[in-house]
């Protein structure tokens, strides 16, 4: 599968960014509480977690907007302690883009160039960069004349023109509507592959993390709960928090089963759990069933809709059902 090979386009022995026991407190609260991470050159890495989990603070520590209380941030072999944001070879795409409203698109993109040593032919480099984000010919516009997606592209161009060692993206797609977000996901992924720059992005949206990233760190209460390849974290969550955050909501004693791994039966089945349909939610491609088992537990089952009415699709709330899953789909939790 070519997709998998692409995911291995980076080499974990070539570390571009290493965080060692990084801590950051605001007053009495620990925003980042002992985070250790290694990110490889060329990787697309996601920091995933609910709001307040410390992911944005971690990004700001890497950018240099905050300094860690303890621990080290090592960028391409250099400890960047005390190095201010403007001297770090790292650039950021801000959540609401933070385009300079008084400057044209071209001047926004050119903003950081004068702080770089000797740029040959800046004009063509600006035009080239605008082209790489499909914004060619729009250099004379002001930010308030741009759509959300275009602003996003300018913010990317403004950072990428400086060839940072790491590009940080703070909820890069959160301000876009759903359809545009899906398009930008594809585009962002392709762009990252093309420029080969390490991307680290922060998101609270697990689907976005899975779609974009090679690897993901799931954060909770200032700590990394689990880090690994997206597929691994999705399929083999190690803690209850990660399992829950990844949408695996059927918790049992010591293990969890994802809703789409469960099947409904209308007749008594061996090794199946008996219960009653509590509700059904039609979701287009799938239908989400809530089943109350005979011992009072609520299970979520997601069935594919194949468009052929059968006994299962005709089930109504109150009907008796049997929920069945395979032993190999039980994921043990710590």
């Amino acid at each position: 599968m070519p997709a998998r090979q692409e995911c291995l386009a980076y080499d974990m022995s070539d570390v571009i960014l290493r965080l060692e026991q990084v801590e950051k407190h605001f007053g009495a609260t620990a925003a980042v509480n002992g985070v250790t991470l290694e990110i490889a050159r060329g990787e697309f890495f996601a920091l995933l977690g609910p709001s307040g989990c410390g992911k944005t603070t971690l990004l700001r520590l890497i950018a240099g907007f905050e300094q860690p209380d303890t621990g080290r941030v090592v960028l391409d072999g250099t400890d960047v302690a005390g190095v201010p944001a403007n001297e770090r070879p790292v650039n950021t795409v801000f959540q609401h883009y933070a385009l300079f409203p008084h400057l044209t698109v071209a001047d926004n993109v050119a903003f950081g160039l004068r702080y770089q040593s000797k740029i040959q032919n800046p004009e063509s480099r600006i035009e080239e960069t605008l082209k790489s984000v499909r914004m060619e010919g729009l250099g004379a516009r002001k930010p308030d004349q741009l759509s959300g997606g275009q602003k996003q592209r300018v913010a990317l161009a403004r950072a990428l023109i400086l060839h940072p060692k790491v590009l940080l993206l703070d909820e890069p797609l959160a301000a876009l509507d759903v359809k545009l977000r899906k398009e930008m996901q594809v585009e962002l992924k392709a762009l990252q592959r093309r420029v080969g720059i390490t991307f680290i992005f922060v998101t609270h949206d697990q689907e976005e993390a899975l779609t974009l990233a090679d690897r993901v760190a799931v954060m909770n209460l200032g700590k990394v709960e689990q880090v690994g390849a997206t597929e691994e974290v999705f399929e083999r969550p190690r803690t209850k928090f990660v399992a829950d955050f990844m949408g695996a909501v059927n918790f049992f004693d010591g293990f969890v089963v994802r809703p789409e791994k469960m099947r409904l039966r209308v007749t008594a089945t061996e090794d199946a759990v008996e219960g009653n349909v509590e509700s059904r939610v039609y979701q287009g491609e799938t239908t989400r069933w809530l089943v109350r088992t005979v011992d009072g537990k609520l299970l979520t089952v997601v069935e594919q809709n194949d468009g052929v009415p059968d006994a299962v699709s005709r089930l109504k709330p109150g009907d008796r059902v049997w929920v069945k899953w395979e032993k190999r789909h039980e994921v043990p939790l710590q």
Binding site: P84, N86, H102
Partner: protein, 274 residues
């Protein structure tokens, strides 16, 4: 007619028309008026004897505005961007509270500070720094001090309002792209706070150009400004038509300055904030 037009008409337009009409009349006996029309008042207002008064007025207004800007910008910047949020209202109140006292009382207070036996001179002499009082009161410096003191809040508040609206992430973006703190200020903060800065400059420059109480009390007889000239015509000199002509000339001069600024700003593609 809407109330807005009624108020503006009665309070601004009618007096302006009366003054315009007065400026074309002859001076009568004992402050009266003889019917014109005549251009004599305007011709006289451009006589070389008055040039020094106009020049001094413009110089003091420009200096006051520049000093106000230099004093106010750091204050506004600190309150808007550096002070803790719960402190902001207190700091703004501290800027404004002195102005709850009468302008006249505050100007007299400066006389007590600046005069030969005043606070500054007594202190300097008792410390042995000087042996005779420095001439502070009745100088252009005294006028400028009094004027700056009176106008600072009109500079602080609009600049504060502009800076307060500034999106902080723009400053972080500038730093992130490689700008030093100073470069971020000149390339992002200052241009974006320009509307408030221009408003502050206009609000300080125009009253300073027409001021007459401050030069009267702190400037002494030699320091006459155009404001005093106009005041004298309506008072002791008993020459309302000439006073009106000087006032109209001043008004046209100010409008010309504002127009020139607006044209310049528009040519640079900036938002015109007047």
């Amino acid at each position: 007619m809407s109330p807005t037009w009624l108020v503006l008409g009665l309070l601004f337009l009618v007096p302006l028309v009366i003054m315009l009409w007065l400026s074309f009349q002859h001076r009568g006996l004992y402050g009266g008026i003889e019917p014109g029309p005549t251009l004599a008042n305007y011709v006289r207002s451009f006589e070389s004897g008055y040039a020094i008064i106009y020049a001094r007025s413009v110089w003091i207004a420009v200096a006051t505005t520049v000093i106000c800007l230099l004093v106010s910008y750091p204050v506004a910047y600190y309150i808007a961007l550096k002070a803790r949020p719960e402190r902001k209202n207190l700091l703004l109140a501290l800027v404004v509270i002195p102005f709850w006292t009468s302008f006249l009382v505050r100007t007299y207070a400066w006389m007590f500070i600046l005069r030969d036996q005043g606070v500054i001179n007594s202190l300097l002499m008792s410390l042995g720094v000087t042996h005779e009082p420095l001439p502070l009161l009745y100088t252009p410096l005294a006028v400028m001090i009094g004027q700056v003191y009176a106008e600072v809040p009109f500079m602080v508040l609009p600049i504060y309002a502009s800076l307060e609206k500034l999106d902080r992430s723009l400053l972080e973006a500038a730093r992130d792209l490689g700008a030093s703190a100073a470069a971020a200020f000149w390339r992002v903060t200052a241009p974006l706070a320009m509307p408030g800065t221009v408003a502050g400059i206009v609000l300080v420059f125009i009253p300073s150009l027409g001021t007459f109480i401050t030069p009267d009390l702190l400037g002494g007889a030699k320091g006459m400004l155009v404001g005093n000239l106009i005041q004298n015509q309506f008072g002791p000199a008993l020459n309302k038509p000439f006073g009106s002509a000087v006032a109209m000339t001043l008004t046209v001069f100010v409008l010309a300055l504002l127009w020139a600024y607006a044209a310049w700003a528009r040519r640079r593609g900036e938002e015109v904030v007047l």
